[in-house]
Each structure stands twice: as structure tokens, then as C-alpha cells.
């Protein structure tokens, strides 16, 4: 996954794609075109397979005919060997796309009597190349010449001439060589082929074999330098260039439901971030698989695809168990929305698990991945290795925008907030499940230990598995104790009784106050009536007095007029 500037591409050497998954990525396009490449490694590491794929894929995918010069196997053996990988070598030979020339050297039949050269080999190879216009040549394994011909000096000088001649012919050649004691190849072929050397390795560690591929050198080209895990399966060889990924994946603000509405509420109301990695850790039986399945179920219900990697249970068992809590996973399996991959970790090494996972994700293109549980991988690697592998899984999934849930089993008696394989720092969200023991029962408790980039609840929740799914219930906490299960229910009942009593007291008090208020109101009414009466009486008295005054004045004036006073 290297990026190359266009300017560099112009000046860089031409590449010949192998069509082998991953190899073209780490070689930045393929083997050097028109030059020989050495493939070396111990017996059984896949040299011949790589060489065969190079020829077969060249002929069938890139329309580049090829010549396979086999020093070890006959054409029929070769065709039979690769038929199991789905390559129809015989048909390619019939259609003049591939020539397989079996070269047999029997030391016992050969006597040396003076000067000679290997012109015969050149002529055979030349005839085969010209016969079909070959662009690719494989010599597997040219080292047989050293075994078959006594005069090493002649073989060496002729090999040197052969590689120059191949370059002149302009064919892209793959030469295989057996690994030597202290050298890359037994007879030092690397001295002659200096353009590109690929080393294959098949290591057994703890009884588990892992294949690896490394580019020892590649002149004039950028290339990945790590050891890359490789896998040989029904589709041939694949190389996993996952460790070449960087921390520059796109991030999404889109949210996906966890499948449990209360959990979504805890996660800022919307659920997980799409493309994030979620760790669910907990002790045995704490409900890790159930929470993971709830997510799988919800993804599939929305029409998304989910890949379920299980290292503990068979698909049938997961489907049956999850049906008991109301998740009909079988329906999703039938619709090809949910795919299970149940595998014992000890079947092959960590690297192979990685390659298989990578392949499945590339083929199935899921929206979500569940790995349940990752702790079982300790059977095939130490914590450091598992962490390395999971880092690559997470990097890969994040690049693909796949939401991933990893479950991790916490052994009893260990610190809860410590994930078994030390991967918590890689995760974006961490759900911790634990069992709370109280009053002769155990209950499940869930809390969010972390959730990057969102406002999340710090509250503990009890979670209950019901026939209709998972329900999260508030736990009762008080006096340093968490109440769950029956204790929670009895606490709830107590609380309800208390509440009722408080309510009744309040009602009584309200009634008393009401009465008092009403009596006061009555008194107030009486006083107001009296006040009104007094006011009315006062007003009446005043008006009578005025009338009397007016009448007096009138009489006085009449009297004065009658006496004719001045």
C-alpha cells in the first residue's frame, strides 16, 4: 500500500504483475519486468506453487504466455498439483498459452568426457519461448543442474550466461532455489540474480506452522521489507500486506445502533461510531456473546452484512443459544447477511488467522465483524503477538470502515479493568460486564469504561436477558452497595412503600390545611359583612343631618322676609 508519486512511476522500472494476492502490493506492482527473480526457501515452503501461479495467472489473467521448465516434476505431476487450486494447466497447454518442459538429469547416465556447454538447455528454452511467444519463464529448480552435472565450474559460467540471455530475451523469469546452510540458496544463485530476491519461509512454532514471505532485495523499486504472512489455500498463495497499513484511515461520525436501545442511550443516545472497534470484556457467563449477537442481529435487520468469527462455539450453537433470547440469527444466515466462521485457534498460527480473516473480509465485504472471543488466541501466541495481530486486524478493519466487536474473557480473580491480552488501548469503546454476587445470586452488570469521542453514561446498568432480547435496568446503589436482581426488586418494593407513606402523609396534611383555610375564609367573610353594614349606617346618618340643616336655613330666610327686615 505504498503511494508513489507519478514522477517516480515514470522513472521506475517496469513491473510484471504476478496476480498473486498481496504480492503485487508489497512489490509495488509485481516482479521486475524482463529480469530474473530468485525465489528461495526451504523444502515445502511454496516456491514451486508461487512459480506456477506466476505462469498460470500470467497466461490466464494477463495474457502473457509462459514457459515452465521443470527440473523436478513432470508436466503431468505439475498439472495435477495445481489442479487442486483450480488451475487448468492442461487447457492452457492445449491453447498454447503455457509450455511445460520437463528436464530430467540423471547423474548415473551421464559421463563427462571433456569440454561442453549447456547450449542444449538454451536451445530448448529458446524454442519453447519462441514457440508460444512467451513473456514469462520459470526455471524450477535450476539447482538440479548442480546435482546432475559434475563440473560445477561449467554450470556456474553457463548459469551466468543463461541469466544474461534471459534478460536479452526480455522475458520475466522466476528461478527457484533451495535454501542453503548459511546462504539464501544452496549453490549461491543469489550471486547471479541480483534484481529481485524473494525469500519464503515455513516456520513451526509451538507445533503450529506459519508461512512467511520476505523480499530480500528489489533493485530499483520501493518494496515492503517486513516478513509477510502467507497462506496457501484453495485459491493458491496469498500474501498479507496488512502490516504496511498506517494510521491514516478515514473516520466516520455516522453511528450504528448497538441493538440494545438502553445501551444506545448510554452511548450518547445513538450507539457506536461506524468503523470503530469495541471491546466487550467480562467474566465467564457475563453475557459477552449476547451483547455481540444483539449487535449482529441489529446490523442484519437493517440489511447490513456481518461476519461472525467464533473460536469457541459452532454456528449452530450460537444460533440456538441466541434464539433463546429472541435473536433469530438463522434468518440472517439464510439471507446471506450473516456469515459464521467458527474455528479452533489451534488449527493454524496467528498469521494464518489474520490471512484467513483478511480474505473473508475482502470476499464478503461485511459492515460489521465480531470476534468472539479474542482471548482464545492465547493458545497460539503470547500477548505481544496477539496484540500485534489485533492491531493489524483493527487497522485493516478501520481502513475498510467495518465496525468491529471483540469479546475478551476475563479470568475469575483477575482485575476486571485489565483486558486479558492487553488490547484495551487499541479499542475505541470498552464495555465491561461483570457479575455481582449478592444474597445468594449472581447478576449481570454492565458499564461503559470508555467510549472515545462521545458523551457517554457513567452509570452502571444491570442487564437482564429476556426472551425478547436484552434489557438494561438501572441498578440501585446506596450505602456503598449495588443492588441487583432480587435485592434490587426488594429495594424497589421498599422504596415504593416509603413513597406511598410519604404520599399519604402529605395528603393528610393537605386536607388539614385546606380545612383551616376554609374556616379562615368564613371568618373573613363575616367581618367584611359587618364592615359593610357599619359603612352604610355612617353614610345614612350624615345625609339625614344635611337635610335637617337645609330645612333650618330655609325656615330662617322665610321668617326674615316676612318681618321685612332690612
Amino acid at each position: 500500500m505504498q503511494t508513489q508519486s507519478p514522477a517516480k512511476k515514470l522513472t521506475g522500472i517496469a513491473k510484471c504483475p504476478t496476480g498473486i494476492r498481496g504480492l503485487d502490493e508489497i512489490t509495488d506492482g509485481g516482479l521486475p519486468k524482463g529480469r530474473p527473480t530468485l525465489i528461495c526457501g526451504a523444502a515445502g515452503c511454496g516456491k514451486t506453487l508461487l512459480a506456477t501461479e506466476f505462469i498460470v495467472r500470467g497466461a490466464s489473467e494477463f495474457n502473457e504466455p509462459g514457459v515452465f521448465m521443470a527440473f523436478e516434476e513432470t508436466g503431468k505431476e505439475l498439472a495435477d498439483n495445481v489442479a487442486s487450486l483450480g488451475f487448468d494447466l492442461a487447457s492452457l497447454i492445449r491453447h498454447k498459452k503455457v509450455v511445460v518442459d520437463h528436464v530430467r538429469i540423471e547423474r548415473s547416465e551421464i559421463e563427462e568426457t571433456g569440454e561442453y556447454d549447456l547450449e542444449g538447455l538454451f536451445i530448448r528454452l529458446g524454442a519453447a519461448i519462441d514457440g508460444i511467444g512467451a513473456k514469462r519463464v520459470v526455471l524450477d529448480s535450476i539447482e538440479e543442474l548442480f546435482a546432475g552435472l559434475p563440473n560445477q565450474a561449467i554450470v556456474r559460467s553457463e548459469l551466468r550466461r543463461l541469466f544474461l540471455w534471459l534478460k536479452d530475451k526480455g522475458v520475466t523469469a522466476v528461478i527457484t532455489g533451495e535454501q542453503g546452510e548459511k546462504t539464501l540458496t544452496r549453490h549461491g544463485l543469489e550471486e547471479y540474480i541480483s534484481d529481485c530476491v524473494i525469500f519464503l519461509d515455513h516456520r513451526v512454532n509451538n507445533q503450529i506452522a506459519t508461512r512467511r514471505l520476505r523480499i530480500v532485495k528489489y533493485r530499483g523499486s520501493a518494496h515492503g521489507t517486513n516478513e509477510y504472512p502467507t497462506l496457501i489455500d484453495q485459491q493458491g498463495l496469498s500474501v498479507l500486506p496488512i502490516s504496511s497499513l498506517g494510521l491514516n484511515y478515514p473516520v466516520s461520525t455516522e453511528r450504528v445502533s448497538s441493538g440494545i436501545s438502553r445501551l444506545d442511550a448510554m452511548l450518547g443516545g445513538k450507539g457506536y461510531f461506524k468503523g470503530s472497534s469495541i471491546l466487550i470484556s467480562g467474566t465467564a457467563g457475563s453475557g459477552k456473546t449476547s451483547i455481540a449477537s444483539a449487535f449482529a442481529n441489529s446490523v442484519c435487520q437493517r440489511g447490513g452484512r456481518c461476519l461472525y468469527w467464533s473460536s469457541e462455539e459452532s454456528p449452530g450453537q450460537i444460533v440456538r443459544d441466541m434464539a433463546s433470547i429472541g435473536f433469530d440469527l438463522d434468518r440472517h444466515v439464510r439471507k446471506n447477511l450473516l456469515r459464521f466462521h467458527s474455528i479452533r485457534p489451534t488449527l493454524y498460527g496467528l498469521e494464518n488467522h489474520l490471512v484467513v480473516l483478511h480474505k473473508m473480509v475482502t470476499e464478503f465485504r461485511p459492515d460489521a465483524l465480531i470476534m468472539d472471543p479474542i482471548t482464545n488466541l492465547t493458545a497460539v501466541g503470547n500477548d505481544e503477538e496477539i496484540k500485534g495481530m489485533l492491531t493489524r486486524v483493527i487497522d485493516f478493519l478501520k481502513n475498510e470502515g467495518i465496525t468491529a466487536i471483540f469479546t475478551s474473557l476475563t479470568a475469575g480473580g483477575t482485575i476486571l479493568e485489565q483486558s486479558e491480552v492487553g488490547v484495551s488501548s487499541l479499542m475505541d469503546a470498552w464495555l465491561l460486564l461483570s457479575m455481582v454476587q449478592s444474597a445468594s445470586e449472581r447478576n449481570r452488570v454492565l458499564y461503559l469504561l470508555k467510549s472515545r469521542g462521545m458523551d457517554h453514561s457513567n452509570q452502571m446498568r444491570e442487564f437482564v436477558l429476556t426472551g425478547n432480547g436484552i434489557e438494561l435496568v438501572d441498578v440501585y446503589a446506596g450505602l456503598g452497595t449495588v443492588y441487583t436482581g432480587a435485592a434490587r426488586l426488594s429495594q424497589k418494593a421498599r422504596d415504593e412503600a416509603d413513597a406511598l407513606e410519604r404520599r399519604q402523609t402529605e395528603e393528610r396534611r393537605q386536607r388539614d390545611l385546606d380545612m383551616e383555610r376554609r374556616s379562615l375564609q368564613a371568618q373573613l367573610d363575616a367581618l367584611q359583612t359587618r364592615l359593610a353594614n357599619i359603612t352604610a349606617e355612617q353614610e345614612l346618618g350624615l345625609s339625614l343631618e344635611k337635610q335637617r340643616d337645609d330645612a333650618g336655613q330655609r325656615a330662617e330666610s322665610q321668617m326674615a322676609r316676612a318681618r321685612k327686615a332690612d
Binding site: T113, E115, Y116, E119, G120, L121, A127
Partner: protein, 115 residues
């Protein structure tokens, strides 16, 4: 360009095939060495076929030829291959399984194996 030098065979008949690639010094040396050797030790009992791979490159695969020159003894069986310009006469004779005083007895009845 095949050269045949056949004499009437007796019950032991030597069939030799020499592969060369053009008229290189090594090829020419091999041809003259072979002729001399056959005349000396197998006079009248041999047959030589010279195949030039430059004109017939497809023939190289049949006898599994890599080295040039290669002398193949197709008869008597078993097939023997001698590579080089045949300058080492003793080794050539050993390689061809030719004893200088070759005298087959009555039980010598070689089978012809088709190649």
C-alpha cells in the same frame, strides 16, 4: 544434416547419436573424436546420427539434452549419455561401455528398446 556411416551390422549393433549446436569448435572436436574412436574400437558395428539442434531445436527434449555436445548411446541398451567433446578417450570408452576387445558370446542378445 545427418551423416550415416553404416556397415552391415552383426548381432551387436551400436547406435550412436551425437547432438551438436552448429559448427562450434567443441562440436567439430567431438565429431572427429567420435569417428576416430568408432573406427578403432567398433569398426563395422556402429551407426552415428548427428543432430544439429540449431536446425532441429525440438529434438532436444526427446533425449533430455542440456549439454552440448552430448553423445547418446541408444543401442545397445541401456541408454548412456556422454557429454563433452570426447577428448578423454578412456572415459568415453568407459562411458560407452566399450571394451577394446569386444567379443560377444552366444548369450548376448540385446533387446531393442524403442526410445
Amino acid at each position: 544434416m545427418s551423416k550415416r556411416k553404416a556397415q552391415q551390422p552383426e548381432n551387436d549393433r551400436w547406435q550412436l547419436r551425437l547432438y551438436v549446436a552448429g559448427q562450434t569448435p567443441k562440436s567439430i572436436a567431438a565429431m572427429s573424436n567420435l569417428k576416430r574412436l568408432c573406427e578403432t574400437h567398433l569398426a563395422g558395428r556402429y551407426e552415428i546420427e548427428v543432430i544439429d539442434l540449431l536446425t532441429n531445436p525440438k529434438l532436444a527434449a526427446g533425449d533430455q539434452i542440456l549439454a552440448i555436445p552430448t553423445l547418446v548411446r541408444t543401442l545397445p541398451a541401456p541408454v548412456k549419455k556422454i557429454i563433452g567433446d570426447l577428448s578423454d578417450e578412456v572415459r568415453t570408452l568407459v562411458g560407452l561401455d566399450v571394451r577394446p576387445a569386444f567379443a560377444p558370446d552366444a548369450s548376448w542378445n540385446p533387446k531393442v528398446i524403442a526410445l
